[in-house]
């Protein structure tokens, strides 16, 4: 851990020590100067690019050099300096390692000759992206602002939504080298204390070099690493986080990424969008049902096709069976190969479209989809029905409001297709049972993944497949055991 060497009284000694630790990088600025007519030697240390230079100049350097006249009235040199500096946030520090850390995180350290104490001035001021519309979670109705890479402006966005004095924020530094700021947010007196404690202890157990994105934290705190399902919700929508906090969940914000984590998460949450609560209840409920239907299609359709074609064609109505057979005439492959060709092509198209610059990406999507589909049918590599199946599956898998849940379904779809290829409909049902068994075993921060389906809380089913009118949703979700479960009277 950090060594606790104290600062010495000698200015040049301190400067040398700090130099030794940070190195001679050109972005480290050490400005030596004389404090007014007092003739104290002093030095400002900061990192160019992380600080607000104008602020240092106007509020620190200028007063120190010109106004430091009656400093002799103060008994300590640092007190004099503190009186003169007009910047907002100032604190004293006398550990060398802490000073170095403050410099590295964008603060300015003022060292004065003849004292053990340094002054740390908050001068954060780096280039930041402005607030934009969230890319991955679009809504038609709802706020348009999304999180940015700056932790402080993200917390501010939440503060603006929740003006509750018991809205609590705990700060941690995670990453031995990256020292990333991590904030744990919850509402005191509402969120279950045990859940907050669990979050704290899981965060404290993390011992890793760097945290570049919230995904690092997500993967290190999740319950089951082998599961295809995400066990932590991630979002870039402040309204979603505010909603989750109000339900008694805990949010984890990480500096340097617009993606915020929410725990605990359930499968039902993956299927809901903030917009469900903004639109009126009838359309919202129907759209939710539609999403569950889409999930079913995205998971089952290709494997049902395979199972029905290769094992149980008796189940298809005769007329349809004839037209399918006619379409498959000339296709040399068994249905599983046919399905894999199309599904894998589609996955490649999707990945390629995602990585390319936006205008080209769209072109690739359209060209790939239309041309390959049409050409493959004409070349009798796949049947037209297969193209329909794949297209429907792809569209359905885009209907998830959560990218992570969609990923899980994509993986499971291939498993399901294999099961269907080997064991037909029996394989499909067995694989479905396997997924369900896995989900009953799965927990997110101690909360069963399938709640409130099971363990059954029938009173909570008002906000599940259907979203009942708001005035009927009087209680917060029981699965997170909030201390205060009344939402409205």
């Amino acid at each position: 851990m950090m060594d606790d060497t104290q600062l010495s009284k000698e200015l040049h000694h301190n400067v040398e020590e700090i130099r030794k630790q940070i190195g001679h990088s050109p972005d480290v600025v050490i400005r030596s100067f004389c404090m007014g007519d007092l003739a104290f030697q002093a030095a400002l240390i900061y990192i160019d690019g992380l600080v607000d230079k104008l602020m240092i100049h106007e509020q620190v350097l200028k007063p120190l050099m010109h106004l430091a006249k009656n400093a002799a009235e103060y008994d300590r040199r640092t007190a004099a300096a503190e009186a003169i500096i007009s910047a907002g946030e100032v604190k004293e520090q006398n550990q060398l390692a802490v000073c170095v850390m403050e410099v590295l995180s964008g603060n300015t350290v003022l060292l004065i000759d003849g004292t053990h104490t340094a002054i740390v001035i908050d001068t954060h001021g780096w280039e930041r992206r402005s607030i934009e519309e969230p890319v991955s979670e679009a809504v038609v109705r709802g706020p348009r602002d999304g999180f940015t890479e700056t932790l402080r402006s993200n917390t501010a966005m939440l503060r603006r939504r929740i003006k509750d004095p018991s809205f609590t924020m705990e700060m941690y530094k995670i990453g031995r080298r990256s020292q990333t700021d991590v904030a744990v947010l919850y509402i005191k007196g509402l969120t279950n204390e045990a859940l907050v404690e669990e979050t704290r202890s899981r965060l404290k157990q993390i011992d890793i070099d760097e945290v570049l994105e919230s995904g690092y934290i997500e993967q290190l705190v999740e319950d089951n690493r082998m599961s295809p399902f995400p066990q932590v919700q991630n979002t870039e929508r402040p309204d979603r986080v505010a909603g989750a906090l109000m339900e008694g969940r805990v949010a984890i914000l990480i500096d340097g990424t617009p993606i915020v984590l929410i725990v605990p998460v359930t499968f039902a949450m993956m299927m809901s969008s903030p917009e469900d609560y903004y639109e009126r209840w009838l359309p919202s409920s129907l759209i939710r049902l539609l999403r569950y239907g889409a999930a079913f299609i995205a998971l089952f359709l290709p494997s049902l096709y395979i199972a029905l074609i290769s094992y149980n064609h008796g189940l298809i109505p005769t007329k349809l069976a004839i037209s399918i057979a006619a379409g498959r005439e000339g296709v040399p492959f068994p249905s599983i190969v046919e399905a894999l060709i199309m599904e894998i092509t589609l996955e490649i198209l999707r990945e390629a479209g995602l990585r390319l610059p936006k205008p080209i990406g769209q072109a690739v999507g359209i060209v790939g989809g239309l041309v390959i589909g049409q050409a493959a049918v004409q070349a009798a590599i796949v049947s037209p029905i297969m193209v329909i199946v794949v297209a429907l599956t792809a569209i359905s898998s885009f209907a998830f409001p959560q990218y992570g849940a969609g990923l899980a379904i994509r993986i499971l779809r291939f498993g399901m297709m294999m099961a269907a290829a080997v064991l037909g409909l029996y394989g499909v049902i067995l694989f479905y049972i396997l997924i369900t068994v896995h989900m009953t075993r799965l927990k997110s921060f101690g909360v069963p993944y399938l709640s409130p389906f099971v363990p059954a809380h029938p009173s909570q089913w008002k906000d599940l497949f259907l979203r009942f009118p708001l005035h009927m949703l009087k209680r917060r979700p029981a699965m997170v055991s909030p201390q205060d479960d009344k939402r409205q009277k």
């Binding site: 279950n192 045990a194 859940l195 669990e198 094992y311 149980n312 008796g314 189940l315 298809i316 109505p317 005769t318 064991l423 037909g424 409909l425 029996y426 394989g427 499909v428 049902i429 067995l430 049972i433 396997l434 369900t436 068994v437 896995h438 009953t440 075993r441 101690g446 909360v447 069963p448 399938l450 389906f453 099971v454 363990p455 059954a456 029981a478 699965m479 997170v480 055991s481």
Partner: protein, 371 residues
């Protein structure tokens, strides 16, 4: 967390009722109409089923009363206290073996039905092995996860049955069920034996009660579970006889499936309802299998003081061997009958004796204390 800490095993009364029902609804639905029709020989089989349901409730009452005397402990643990260490252990081991045999029997029936209606060319061994592979993943998760799975699946199973019953009413002719009691009450009594056998399964309450968060609701749970099963069974037998006639039900192997064959779903999107029914029935078979498998492994675990997961793995080869043992369907059904007899002895007679013994013991204790 207060309510979310499920590391401690605790299941609700609803879950217990569902588990009781699920342990009974498995193979019974498929084979019961035939065995009833064979022994009753009149269309009154459904009456026998209803009567047996009431008898099963009596047995269930005894089972729960016995378990409630030993709160927080399973049959495997308290039987040693009632009749001494060795006899108790023997009875416990017998119950474990019963579960292992039940699981094996169920596995084979499932395999046969799937082979018959879904996968005629796939070796039955593959069907059974994959099934067990998924089951072990569930069993080792313990009773809470099992209870949740059943809570999730039982409504689906009931829905399938309701759809089945509603759509088979097209071929249903009330005349096939007449005359009611045409030959008096004697045939109905003859049907009680085969139908009471298909009610075996309620005895899961011998260990489920120990895990209940509110054990005083166990009576209500077991009555609800048996009642639900009795209604379903009665309807299935009535529907089978009503749409196929007694004579036909006697001759076909899987009468329920034969009824399903005649069903046509509206809209004509799915033909062959029996295949669809089989697919969905695998869910039902799975949940019942997991319960038996868990019951057996838990027993071995508690008798030897080791983790039940170990025995869940160890018992798989045994279950598999039992499943492939009968060389044909007749022998399979014979095995089913023997399992039924064993269950009648173990869960109809022994619990009554235990209950009396336990009451006597307690009275003696009370006397001693009084002196």
């Amino acid at each position: 967390m207060k309510t979310n800490d499920r590391s401690k095993d605790s299941i609700t009364a609803t879950q217990a009722a569902m588990m009781t029902a699920k342990a009974m609804i498995g193979t019974g639905i498929l084979v019961l109409p035939q065995s009833i029709a064979k022994s009753v020989e009149t269309p009154d089989g459904w009456l026998s089923v209803l009567l047996s349901g009431i008898l099963a409730m009596l047995c269930g009452f005894v089972v729960v009363k016995l378990s409630q005397r030993f709160p927080g402990r399973t049959y495997y643990q308290y039987s040693q206290e009632i009749v001494g260490k060795w006899i108790g252990a023997c009875i416990g081991a017998g119950m474990c073996l019963y579960y292992i045999f039940s699981a094996g029997y169920l596995l084979r029936v499932m395999g046969e039905v799937v082979r018959m209606y879904l996968l005629d060319k796939t070796p039955i061994v593959i069907i059974m092995l994959t099934f067990m592979g998924v089951a072990i993943y569930m069993t080792t998760a313990g009773i809470n996860a099992i209870a949740q799975l059943i809570e999730l699946f039982l409504p689906i199973i009931i829905l399938i049955m309701v759809v089945f019953i509603i759509f088979s009413f097209r071929d249903f002719e009330l005349d096939n069920l007449r005359p009611v009691l045409g030959e008096g009450f004697a045939p109905v009594l003859k049907g009680i034996k085969p139908s009471i056998l298909s009610f075996s399964g309620f005895e899961v309450m011998l260990f489920v009660t120990a895990f209940m968060s509110e054990p005083h609701k166990a009576i209500r749970a077991i009555f609800a579970g048996i009642g639900l099963t009795a209604v379903l069974y009665t309807l299935v037998v009535a529907v089978a006889i009503g749409s196929l006639t007694v004579e036909e039900v006697q001759t076909v192997t899987w009468p329920t499936m034969s009824v399903a064959m005649n069903i046509e779903l509206p809209g004509g999107f799915f033909e062959r309802f029996e295949s669809l029914f089989t697919v969905l029935w695998v869910i039902s078979m799975f949940t019942a299998f997991v319960l038996y498998h868990y019951g057996g492994s838990l027993g071995f675990g508690q008798l030897t003081g080791k983790k039940f997961q170990l025995f869940a793995y160890l018992s798989l080869p045994l279950i598999f061997m039992i499943a492939i043992w009968p060389s044909n369907l007749n022998k399979l059904f014979k095995l089913g009958d023997y399992i039924g007899y064993a269950s009648f002895f173990m869960f109809g007679i022994i619990p009554v004796m235990f209950l009396i013994l336990a009451a006597v013991r307690r009275a003696q204790h009370a006397n001693k204390r009084a002196q």
